[in-house]
C-alpha cells in the first residue's frame, strides 16, 4: 500500500480558504438531505433523430451526456463541456443548442437532431454533409459535427446566406485547427452558391 495514503493531516492553502476548491467538506448536501416532493421523474421519453427513446435520466443530466453515453450517439463531441466551443451543438426544434449545457429533462417535449440524424434513411448524406465533404471542411474533425449541425440550422432559416451571415451563424463553433475558410466554403456550396 502506498505510504502516503494513510494519514489525515491537511493544511489548507492560504488562498484556498474557501475550502470549496480543496477539501470538499459539506459539498454534497444535495445527496445527504431529503428533498421536497414533486421533482422530476427519471424515466422519460425523448425524441432523438426521429425516434422516441425511453431513457433513465438523472435530474442534472446534460443532453450531451445522455446522447453520448446512453444513446451511443458519440458524434456529439465534448470539447469543453462548458458551452464555450460548440463541438456538442445539436438541434432542438431546429435551433442550435450546446448539448453540454442543456438538461435532458428540458427536451422531453421537443425534437432533438444530432449529426447522426441528418442522413436520409437510405444513408444518403445531407446536402450540408455532402458539401462539407466536397470542400473538405474538417481538419481534425472534432468540431465538425457541430459545424455541420449549425450549418443545417442556418440554411433552414436562411437558405442563401452571405459568407458574412454564415460566419455569424457559425460563430459559436470554435475550430482550433482554423478550418473556418473551408467550412464557409462548405456553407456556400451547400446553399448552391459555389459551383
Amino acid at each position: 500500500m502506498n505510504p502516503r495514503l494513510t494519514r489525515r493531516h491537511f493544511i489548507k492553502g492560504v488562498i484556498y480558504s474557501s475550502a470549496a476548491a480543496m477539501s470538499g467538506a459539506g459539498l454534497y448536501l444535495a445527496n445527504a438531505q431529503s428533498r421536497p416532493a414533486a421533482a422530476v421523474e427519471r424515466l422519460i421519453s425523448i425524441n432523438v433523430n426521429g425516434r422516441t427513446r425511453r431513457v433513465d435520466v438523472l435530474p442534472q443530466e446534460t443532453l450531451a451526456h445522455t446522447l453520448r453515453y446512453k444513446l451511443e450517439l458519440t458524434g456529439t463531441k465534448l470539447g469543453c463541456n462548458r458551452g464555450e466551443c460548440g463541438a456538442c451543438t445539436v438541434l432542438i426544434d431546429d435551433v442550435t443548442n450546446y448539448a453540454c449545457s442543456t438538461l435532458t429533462h428540458s427536451v422531453k417535449l421537443r425534437v432533438v437532431t444530432t449529426v447522426e440524424g441528418l442522413q436520409s434513411p437510405d444513408g444518403q448524406l445531407h446536402p450540408v454533409q455532402q458539401a462539407f465533404l466536397d470542400e473538405l471542411g474538417p481538419q481534425c474533425g472534432f468540431c465538425t459535427p457541430g459545424q455541420v449541425v449549425a450549418t443545417v440550422a442556418l440554411l433552414k432559416t436562411n437558405p442563401k446566406p452571405t459568407r458574412e451571415q454564415a460566419r455569424q451563424a457559425l460563430s459559436g463553433n470554435l475550430c482550433r485547427c482554423g478550418a473556418y475558410d473551408h467550412y464557409l466554403n462548405g456553407v456556400m456550396r451547400a446553399s448552391g452558391q459555389l459551383s
Binding site: I15, Y16, S17, S18, A19, A20, A21, M22, G24, L27, Y28, L29, A30, N31, Q33, R35, P36, A38, A39, V40, L58, P59, Q60, E61, T62, H65, L78, N81, R82, G83, E84, G86, T89, V95, T96, N97, Y98, C100, S101, T102, L103, H105, S106, A150, Q168, A169, L170, S171, G172, L174
Partner: protein
C-alpha cells in the same frame, strides 16, 4: 484541486405555473437555483463552486414568455431568449438598441437559450471569483484583483467597494439607457424596480449584483415608450468578436429636436459593477447638436473620477472614445 465537468447530484423541478415556481423558490430559498437558459448555471454547478440543492427550471412557464405591447411601451417576458429579442419586430422597430445589445452576447447557441432575465441576472466574471477563491464576493475577506500585482485588466475603474468586478451583461446597459423597469414577483406580491436600481454594486450588497432575493423571480422587463424610436447607439468592445465579455460597452439613447439633443442617456458597461450612467456626458450633450465638435467637448468627461487598477487604465480612454462615438453615431 479537483477539476470537474460532470454535473453534481441536484434535484430538478419543472413547474408550469409561476405560482408553483414562486412556492418552490420560497420554500427552497438559498437552497434553490432558478434556471432560465442555464448558461450561467452549469459551470457553477459543475465546478461545485455553487452548491444549491435544487434547480427550479422556469422554462415550462408559458406566462414568462413572449413580448407584448402595453399601454406604455412593451413588456418582455423574463424567458424571452436573446435570439428572440434580436428577431422580434417590435423590438427591432422601436427598441433596436436592445436588439443590438442582445446580438452581441456570447454566441448564437447561447443567445438561442439565454434569456433576458438570465442575461441581467448573471454573475460577475472576475476570474478569481470564478476560480472559487474566497474573495469578498464569495464570502471571504479579501480581493485578489485589487492588489498591486493583481491581474485586473477586465476589472472596474469606478465604484470599487472591496470588490472590483464589473457587470458582464451586454443587455444591462441598454435596459438602463431605455429606462426599463423590472417586474419582480414573490409569494408576497409584485414589485417593480427601475433597471437603474435593479443592479446593485458591492457597496450595497457584495454577494449579489441585483436586488433579486431568494424567493423572488424576475418575471418580465418593461420598456416604456419614453425612448421608443429614439436615436440609439450600442457598441461592445471585446477581445474576440464572439464569445467574449465586453472590455467596455456603451448604450446610448438620444432624443433630437431642432438639430439638437433634447435628452439623452448614456450608459457604459464593464466599467463598474453595475451599468454606469454617464451623467456628465448626458448633461454636456443636452441642447447640443450631434456633431464632431460636440464630441470633442466631451473630452474625458466619461472617465471623470475613474480610479484605474494597474492593468485597466485603457478603459478610461476607451469609455471616453465610446461616449464620443455614441454621440456621433
Amino acid at each position: 484541486m479537483p477539476s470537474h465537468d460532470v454535473m453534481p447530484d441536484i434535484e430538478l423541478y419543472q413547474p408550469v405555473q409561476v405560482e408553483d415556481a414562486l412556492a418552490l423558490a420560497t420554500r427552497l430559498a438559498e437552497r434553490g437555483w432558478l434556471l432560465g437558459g442555464g448558461q450561467d448555471t452549469y459551470g457553477w454547478l459543475k465546478d461545485r463552486a455553487k452548491v444549491p440543492e435544487a434547480m427550479i427550471d422556469l422554462n415550462g412557464i408559458e406566462s414568462l414568455r413572449g413580448i407584448r405591447e402595453t399601454a406604455d411601451g412593451i413588456e418582455i417576458g423574463a424567458l424571452t431568449t436573446l435570439t428572440e429579442l434580436v428577431n422580434n419586430p417590435l423590438i427591432k422597430e422601436r427598441y433596436s438598441l436592445l436588439a443590438s445589445a442582445a446580438e452581441k452576447v456570447a454566441s448564437p447557441q447561447i443567445r438561442n437559450v439565454g434569456t433576458i432575465a438570465g442575461n441581467v441576472a448573471q454573475d460577475v466574471r472576475c476570474w478569481y471569483y470564478r476560480r472559487g477563491l474566497s474573495c469578498y464576493r464569495a464570502g471571504g475577506n479579501l480581493c485578489y484583483a485589487d492588489t498591486p500585482e493583481g491581474m485586473n485588466r477586465e476589472h472596474a475603474i469606478f465604484g470599487a467597494s472591496r470588490c472590483v468586478a464589473v457587470t458582464p451583461s451586454d443587455t444591462a446597459p441598454a435596459l438602463v439607457a431605455l429606462e426599463a423597469s423590472m417586474v419582480i414577483r414573490s409569494e408576497s406580491g409584485e414589485r417593480v424596480v427601475a433597471a437603474e436600481d435593479f443592479f446593485i454594486g458591492p457597496n450595497v450588497d457584495i454577494r449579489n449584483t441585483t436586488v433579486l432575493r431568494p424567493g423572488e423571480i424576475l418575471t418580465s422587463v418593461r420598456l416604456p415608450a419614453t425612448w421608443a424610436n429614439a436615436t440609439f447607439y450600442f457598441e461592445k468592445v471585446a477581445d474576440r468578436n464572439a464569445w467574449d465579455f465586453a472590455l467596455v460597452s456603451i448604450a446610448a439613447v438620444m432624443r433630437e429636436s431642432g438639430g439638437v439633443i433634447q435628452d439623452a442617456r448614456f450608459v457604459a458597461g464593464a466599467v463598474q459593477c453595475t451599468p454606469r450612467r454617464l451623467l456628465d456626458v448626458e448633461s454636456a450633450v443636452r441642447g447640443q447638436p450631434r456633431t464632431e465638435a460636440t464630441a470633442q467637448t466631451l473630452g474625458t468627461l466619461a472617465s471623470q473620477g475613474a480610479q484605474p487598477l494597474n492593468h485597466n487604465g485603457f478603459k478610461l480612454h476607451l469609455v471616453d472614445s465610446l461616449a464620443k462615438r455614441a454621440l456621433i453615431g
